[in-house]
């Protein structure tokens, strides 16, 4: 209700105003230490000396290295990376889909009437913690665990990707499913449909485009983050670019960045096609 209950009198002030001023102040108060901690000094980017160094390095990018031998290596690594990312994501989906569904509030029957019941709430909390654990342990740690079991090579790398991406995808799936309009889902649940039925009849059709494009985006991330595969000797484009970068070999970096740009554009095309089909 507005503060003034007497009809007719125009309220003189927006009741939300104080709150807004407070939050604005709080934001500024928070930003300041952030800037200090990160030594945020953008102007040093524009100092002539650092500009010169950067320009020298960027000049190295041109022309990109286009030797046949190198290109063949890049193409091979690119395919390996794509294959490993695809395998990793496919495995990740096996875990992410059930976990994501478990963590979704809008599929909870007991949450229909306000609070979730205790059992499901605990299950959901447990699932969320599992997802947090899966994705906050760095890939290198996963990789080292699997090196002990399967040795150096592709398998360890793919498993490491699968686990951490299961954590990421599961969480984002849950959030996407919760963030849209859930009225039609809740209507079905209220009328006695099961969770999975409500998922397939209301939640999925609404969010399929979003879900699929996020998955494709993650696939693309997996390609980029294949540095982790290098840890355990599975190779990959990410590892190559890391190495060339460390060597400040601009020409090689430029070529591989172009490959990345191409792969990203490819992912975008796939994502657009899926989106188009799902709407």
């Amino acid at each position: 209700m507005s503060g003034s209950s007497s009809a007719g009198a125009v309220p003189s002030r927006d009741p939300a105003w104080l709150g807004r001023v407070f939050w604005l102040g709080a934001a500024v108060a928070l930003l300041w230490p952030l800037a200090v901690l990160t030594e945020f000094r953008p102007w040093i980017l524009l100092e002539p000396q650092s500009l010169a160094v950067t320009a020298r390095f960027l000049a190295d990018f041109f022309p990109p290295k286009l030797e046949l031998e190198f290109l063949r290596m890049v193409a091979l690594e690119a395919w390996r990376t794509v294959a490993m990312a695809t395998a990793g994501i496919s495995l990740a989906l096996l875990g992410a889909v059930p976990l994501g569904l478990l963590a979704t509030r809008s599929l909870s029957v007991s949450a229909l009437s306000g609070r979730m019941a205790q059992g499901p709430a605990a299950l959901r909390l447990g699932t969320r913690w599992l997802l947090v654990l899966l994705r906050s342990v760095p890939e290198l740690v996963w990789a080292l665990i699997f090196v002990r079991v399967v040795g150096l090579g592709v398998t360890a790398g793919v498993l490491a990707i699968a686990l951490s991406y299961a954590g990421m995808l599961g969480k984002v799936y849950a959030e996407i499913l919760e963030s849209g309009d859930t009225e039609s889902t809740r209507t079905l649940l209220r009328n006695g449909a099961g969770r999975m039925q409500a998922f397939f009849y209301a939640l999925l059709p609404q969010n399929a485009a979003e879900l699929s494009s996020y998955t494709v985006y993650r696939w693309e991330c997996a390609i980029r983050s294949s540095v982790v595969l290098g840890f355990v000797g599975a190779g990959g484009l990410g590892q190559q670019i890391d190495a060339s970068m460390k060597m400040f070999n601009g020409a090689e970096v430029a070529t591989m960045l172009l490959v990345f740009v191409f792969l990203v554009a490819l992912a975008d095309t796939i994502s657009a096609a899926l989106r188009g089909a799902l709407r």
């Binding site: 930003l31 990160t38 695809t86 496919s90 760095p138 740690v141 080292l144 090579g153 985006y217 670019i241």
Partner: protein, 265 residues
Amino acid sequence: MKLYPQARLSIGRRGLAACLALLGLVLASFATLDLQWAQMFSLEAARSMGRFVAEFFPPDLSLAFVAKVAFASLETLAMSALGSLIAACAGLLLALGAARLHGQDSALARRPTRWLLNALRAVPELVWASLLLISAGLGPFAGTLALAAHTTGVLGRLFAEAIENCSEGPGFALRVQGAGNLRVFLYATLPQVLPQLISYTLYRWENNIRAAAVLGVVGAGGLGQLLGFHMGLFHMNKTATILAAMLLLVALVDLLSDRLRRALA
């Protein structure tokens, strides 16, 4: 009963082709990689994984080290938060150019902006960091900028899609009334997509905490540098403390985003 030929699920031909291509890609991937599943499921495997995990205990909780980890966490938190914030602002601006705001929007800037976003995100954080380390020097500032640059590309695209996906009704009503694109965005589209945008930003923030771990290795500071150092030296107990700190940070952001989304819903 009559037969209804129209009753089939109507997925376009393009969609069918896309699905088949994806299936093919997955099969080809598994086929070309020599994955070794056999070793995964032995008792010995479980035992040796268990031994590895057991080495983490007990975590190193000596005061000096915890203080060091706490400061590093703060640095990581600051780097990732500021990077994500910059990226969210820049991403939103670029997303406006990259999205078709309504059905009849000619969206001239759409193509070029999308390419810009693609380029930003095609370059991994690590490469951005190495690039920026040259001009900004070692330290968290370069890391922050690197996170911001890559994340701008990511968020810009996600935002653009969220904007294109949101329900047309409210925006339509304002547009036919003659309100400009930006105003329609502020008054009709933004309130609808805001939870989603915030959710994406928070998610990317969390992601950036982990990415900052990788950046630490190139000298950008924070938890990542500590992790790389102690992990490489097999200081498992110290590693456990660092991992716990990361877990806490991620859980914190996770909790925050859950709360915020529920407050906004």
